[in-house]
Point group: C2
Chain length 153, copies 2
């Protein structure tokens, strides 16, 4: 029995992700789909979890290519089980903690700067806030901006 199979529209509806994004994730190798006789995509049930993991990881500031790397450690020919996902999340938990620590150090520096009014070149602790995480990604680190409501249409 082939359990559940979903169309791209159904996955979009259930996951809250646009169809175009699902196509995009497929091109990036993050999800896969079979095809029916009429060339329509057919997704297995595990795609829902994958998409959920993608969204969660993005909220943590993890890029799609990092997600893809992590996914490549998942079993190829078996649906990932609880333990597989646990490994992923614990690795990311680590990363997230480091990012949080970094931002906290940054905030502490800033607190100092509020006192001194400096925020200026090299003499300022802010300027020298160590850059481990900021420097780690390819190009500028894109942080998720949860707070900001201002959005262009």
């Amino acid at each position: 029995m082939k359990s559940q199979e979903f169309s791209v529209g159904q996955v979009a509806a259930r996951s809250g992700v646009a169809v175009s994004a699902l196509h995009f994730y497929e091109r990036k190798g993050l999800i896969t789909a079979g095809r029916n006789a009429g060339n329509r995509r057919r997704y297995g049930a595990d795609v829902l979890r994958r998409v959920a993991v993608i969204k969660a990881a993005q909220k943590m500031g993890i890029t799609l290519s990092e997600i893809q790397q992590a996914f490549s450690a998942l079993p190829r020919h078996r649906a990932p089980d609880k333990k597989d996902w646990q490994q992923l999340s614990s690795a990311w938990h680590q990363q997230l903690s480091e990012r949080i620590d970094y931002l906290q150090r940054l905030r502490d520096s800033l607190t100092g700067c509020i006192g001194c009014g400096c925020l200026s070149m090299h003499k300022c602790p802010m300027y020298n806030a160590d850059d481990k995480l900021a420097a780690q990604g390819p190009g500028p680190v894109l942080l998720d901006r949860p707070i900001n409501a201002s959005q262009k249409s």
Copy 2:
């Protein structure tokens, strides 16, 4: 006396920012420069602090356009003083704190998920770590988002 004036190359060297980035910041209205007889940019000393602030804000995840907005509150015809900069930093301190709180909530959800191995659709707290949550503290987490068709978060 016209105190210090710097060329674009000097500012680049002192600030550690590429000349092309300085041009870019100027186009974006983040910094300004006068010109000499031969059309070369001449920067006042305050540009160094501005650039430092830009870099610091970027580390906090603040975008250039947000920075530009913040800068527009600075005095137009007087070099900003300690108090002006203090205002900026305290607003950003606030923002940064919120961002940190958001990420911590995310991490906590993830910790739960490591235990349960879930990280899956709607039933997972991780999935529902909604951006709205970031703004206000406790209260009924909407456990059941409308599962309607494609919507961008």
